[in-house]
Symmetry: C2
Subunit: 470 residues, 2 copies
């Protein structure tokens, strides 16, 4: 479709039609922009093909009822953009252009429809503290200085680091200072930065719980570290088997089994770290949520110089915020901050300031307490249901946002049945380092009780009841 | 200081003092927590040394006026945390613990005090549209669904991608669709992701303007690409010299010289990309800010299938937001989204939704227009000042947030003088690929006119006047 404008020069109407330009509809100040837009569109859609000569500015101005200066300015603009060509003494022509972009259809990600979200790691978004967040945002913006909208601190906002150092000391027993806290864009980034720093310091292997979180093992492996399995039993990770010089652990509530690391093992781990100059990466992913009593304090307090403590707002407020933190041994602060700066300069500022405000005003604590009560009740409902299905054995202490239930029944068939009923949850097998190994190992389901609203959770339990019964 | 508790067992008063515990001040529900806190602190501060035997629960309960069960529960908690040891038939003792953390003094970053910010890249934070941001936040939160606080889309929120596709088409002539837009945490991350994807596809070299942005060359080099210089003259980058298969350019307003890429070179660049299957990375870092007339459209429209268009909110709203975007050729969407997901899963959601709301309600356009007028006036003031210093030659078209002024005077001495007077600005030399090369090359100052408030800018100009005169 290379219709040549010049070939229809005797006929004025088609030109105006070609331009789809209704000058009457445009205010005086927008006529040049309107003409440019019409010319650009005609060129891109092929109505004005490459090499086509455009009418003179005088002719087009007369035809469209525009001032000649307007048309000249529009032509100049498009020449500057490279869409039109002008040569002394010759007509303005359309430049040679690439073919227009074919519409890009994003490949659909195949996913079954989820009616009941029993995923293990996401909190109840319907309980997001909208009002508190908005109030804190208003306060933060009201007192913001101009520099707060400028470049940020790669280590994180001092306000948030101070709030977290106090909060983590108070609620998790973490021994740290604002200078040792680093803000990241979530635990996923935290573990990536730590793995990069370890690799750069000559570490080649990192031990991680088996079973444990698959995604984080992948992050570590991409950083060039070999991941060694640490077996898990009813007392948590068997840390007496450690051979690597760094280990990623969930001591307060092992993921996914839900058991806390036994006190003897906590001490053994601290000795190991001191003896071997090893590093413990403590993933305190749901330490805020012990339902029966005050949580076991973070392991970090036993070996603060050998532990990188990791937390985030993902389980308390939501992963959408992308706010995570590290409490680091002094010698790791600088390398991790440098890695953070290399990765993405710094984490966005407003969210950090709002979270600091929520912590300082105790709105964060109130929110966590309310969530804990809600999840505690839901966990009881879930365990009551599991009691009715004796072929499932729940594990772990009353804590967190999920329960692991192991079974001798075939895990794949159970997961398929859940998917059929629109239930989203996870299987245990895929969390093992080698999912294909140990065929006699029991399968299991990770059943989250936080991701839905209260109402949705009850409906989800009904569906789960049906899935487990069949 | 290893005072042994058991050695003072005959004396009750010191125990209570050691614990710093005023039970009377604690409500009934907080007594266990208070005791735990006091014990924990005493252990950490060395007042209770390793191996010290604790009094029996009965004795301590009596001494402190607490129920025995409260003391037992507190001991149990600290045993679970590994701070205390208990053995059948023996007294509870303090566990062996590592030395307490030495306070970490963050090494001070040496930086002269900045009185006048004439840095080239930051917008006026005092003009941040606080009210509009807050209104948009309220609306976004009011209509948020629970899932909005859950895991995000690695490609970016559909609302923001749709808003940007329309906005970029309207204001920058970018030819794209929401499916081709990817949201990142700023241009710094955008260029890192692109470099990673290029390297993974076998590309080994990337050309970049000389002079040009040093930081971004470093990002590209870290991804494993060799960076080749593209010389810049008064018509922009000399793209006819390209030998690499990818090039990073600032076609609308070359950084730092401020000249737009000549129309002939735009066309030559598009032909090169088509002919060689090359990729143009268009850094449209300040395309919103053409002060004299409507901006030259983005180069991307000339070669949409061969251009990765990059923009961000850093120059319009502020870098603190960490919001950037890419409009990509269809074949690059999937690899870049996968790289983004590997890097940090996805960009935080609330900021994306708020920006989409600002764009959709035209508050963003209004803000940019107001900023443009402000910067235009400031640029005129700066150029009037430069007119009084004939040994400085300003370059570039009326656009952007900075002006480059070259000079035959010694750049290092000028920068030192500016620093003395508390003026923050940048030199030209460090933006060259090889700052040591070409000793005859003129030096220059990059003078930003956006980073301060209006009032601060006038004072900064006075200081600059003094620096250039001396």
């Amino acid at each position: 479709m290379t219709e040549d404008w010049s070939s229809t020069s005797a006929n004025h109407a088609p030109r105006a039609l070609d331009l789809h330009l209704d000058v009457g509809a445009l205010g005086p100040g927008r006529r040049q922009a309107g003409l440019e837009h019409a010319l650009r569109t005609a060129v891109r859609e092929g109505r004005l093909g490459p090499g086509s000569a455009l009418p003179s500015t005088r002719a087009l101005a007369r035809e469209l009822g525009l001032a000649r200066g307007t048309v000249t300015a529009a032509y100049d603009q498009l020449v500057a953009e490279g869409l039109l060509l002008t040569r002394p003494g010759a007509a303005t022509t359309v430049a040679e252009l690439p073919p227009t972009v074919s519409a890009f259809a994003a490949a659909a990600r195949p996913a079954p429809p989820v009616l009941h979200d029993l995923g293990p790691g996401t909190p109840d978004g319907s309980a997001f503290p909208t009002r508190a967040w908005l109030t804190a945002t208003r306060r933060v913006l009201a007192r913001a200085r101009p520099a707060d909208f400028g470049p940020g601190d790669p280590q994180g906002r001092p306000e948030l680091r101070a709030a977290l150092a106090a909060q983590l000391g108070r609620t998790r027993g973490v021994l740290t200072t604002p200078d040792q806290v680093v803000i990241t864009s979530g635990f996923y980034q935290s573990i990536g930065l730590l793995a990069e720093v370890l690799r750069a310091s000559g570490v080649t292997e990192l031990a991680a719980e088996d079973p444990g979180h698959r995604t984080y093992r992948e992050v570590v492996a991409r950083a060039g570290l070999r991941v060694l399995p640490v077996p898990v039993d009813g007392d948590g990770a068997r840390v007496e088997t450690l051979t690597a010089s760094a280990v990623l652990l969930t001591p307060s509530h092992q993921y996914p089994t839900g058991v806390p690391l036994h006190p003897d093992r906590r001490r053994a781990l601290a000795s190991w770290a001191r003896r071997t100059d090893g590093l413990v990466i403590e993933d305190d992913y749901d330490g805020e949520f012990r339902h029966d009593r005050r949580p076991v304090g973070a392991f970090q307090a036993l070996a603060p110089d050998r532990t990188a403590y990791c937390g985030s707002a993902s389980k308390t407020l939501g992963p959408a915020l992308r706010l995570g933190w590290l409490a680091l041994p002094p010698h790791l602060v600088r390398p991790v901050v440098e890695a953070k700066e290399r990765a993405d300069l710094y984490t966005e500022t407003l969210g950090q300031l709002v979270l600091a405000e929520l912590i300082d005003t105790h709105a964060y604590d109130r929110h966590v307490r309310a969530a804990r009560l809600r999840y505690r009740r839901r966990r009881l409902l879930l365990h009551r249901l599991l009691d009715r299905h004796p072929d499932f054995t729940p594990h772990g202490v009353p804590a967190g946002l999920h329960t692991l239930a192991t079974t001798d029944r075939e895990e794949a068939a159970l997961l398929a049945r859940c998917a059929e009923l629109g239930i989203a949850l996870s299987g245990l097998t895929e969390l093992h380092h080698d999912p294909a190994a140990a065929p006699g190992r029991p399968g299991g389901l990770l059943i989250g009780f936080a991701a839905t609203s209260d109402h949705g959770f009850e409906r989800a339990l009904h569906a789960l009841d049906e899935a487990l019964a069949s």
